[in-house]
Symmetry: C2
Subunit: 212 residues, 2 copies
DNA sequence: ACCGCTCTTGACCATCTGATCAAGAATTAA
DNA sequence: TTAATTCTTGATCAGATGGTCAAGAGCGGT
């Protein structure tokens, strides 16, 4: 049995193979979605036989949930770092930049979530209503504080967060469309970053109601 | 055979049933995606037998493509209406409002496209690279003209369009997440509309580089 | 070397699903 | 009415797919 008490310590081989599986599963699930992916595909992609893969994760859904959970934490890290003590404009700019870089560096994670949420979040609905909502509410109240202090243009904080999510993740989730329209110039993500920071941050800077 | 020459005129029943099928297919495909939907589901949803449905559309993919094409034109209409002779701020504001209302009134169409593009646009890739790119390029050059005339803050026109698409369609595509975080208050879409117009339009208004 | 446990796999199964077909029912034009 | 055409469906098929199982191979602690 397992070495000590209730803690199911992992074998070397277990740790290795589970990592292989999760990596391959992210690749496959993010490309084809849950229903569109087959256990065989994932197995082949990581060089294991199907029964062997199912030895580590009994059901297809178990793999899927494991990948989601494995990636969720990292994905939210930039929002967690929004600092109430920092300069509002600086903090928001930093968040936008961090998010768009995540979109660039880990588009598969973005597409995995996009697919899950697009289909009604059957696997992570509870997470969205719990931990995610709490985190967003917390950060929204920080932004509301900045607005109340006159340090930001008054906008709905929740919808500001949605706007940042939407615009940044767009480049990962809808890459096929972006590429079709503007191709894939080397400066693509840099242009996007500059444009988004300008657009959103200018819209956030406090100022006289009427300008020009 | 068909009544006159090469024109396959449609029977009353044909027109009726094809409409039924397309409506049901939009419902199913937008919810479960292409792979996640079954012909049986669509057939049941519109009260036809599976073989009967396949009498009108020989293959599952034919239904899918038909629904996409059937919806694409309408979906792009607001962008087509962007008027080079109008006031830039007014035109962009109107476009944002039109798009977010489409998200609200026809979220299924949005999710259908989102799913298609998320999976690499296998069915409409050619459309994206052709007609869509042309339309966007045309409108982007209009925006570029406004910027050159000093009537808009200088931002990359293509990325501005992406930002508008992303933020507005977010409310249809990621409804599960939005609902989980802020619930579904009656004012949701109105709040979103106000926030987005403020954010993006303030970011677009020309003004002195330094304010406050 | 030994032994218990972990790991691996070929063969197999039940189910789902897209698609076909032949035959009959309904519709339409004359 | 009649005959050609269109429409409808029960039965059926082939392939894909998630999942199981028994048996053997490999590994680690003693």
């Amino acid at each position: 049995m397992t070495p000590s008490g209730t803690a199911p310590r992992k074998t070397r081989i277990q740790a290795l193979n589970e990592e292989l599986i999760l990596k391959a599963a992210l690749e496959i699930f993010s490309t084809y979605g849950f229903r569109g992916s087959t256990v065989d595909q994932i197995a082949k992609s990581c060089g294991l036989s199907k029964p062997n893969l199912l030895y580590y994760f009994r059901r297809k859904e178990d793999i899927y949930v494991a990948v989601l959970e494995h990636t969720l934490h990292d994905w939210l890290e930039p929002l967690r770092e929004l600092d109430p003590a920092g300069d509002p404009i600086e903090e928001v700019s930093r968040y936008i930049r961090a998010k768009i870089r995540m979109s660039r560096d880990n588009p598969k994670a973005s597409r995995l979530f996009a697919n899950e949420i697009l289909h009604g979040a059957p696997a992570i609905g509870a997470f969205l209503k719990g931990p995610l909502k709490e985190l967003v509410d917390e950060k929204a109240s920080i932004i509301a504080g900045w607005i109340a202090a006159g340090r930001l243009n008054p906008v709905d904080p929740h919808h500001l967060v949605f706007a940042i999510w939407a615009t940044t993740q767009h480049y990962a989730d809808f890459d096929a469309q972006v590429s079709a329209v503007v191709g894939t110039p080397a400066s693509l993500m840099a242009d996007a970053e500059r444009t988004l920071v300008t657009l959103l941050v200018e819209g956030l800077k406090p100022g006289p109601a009427v300008r020009g």
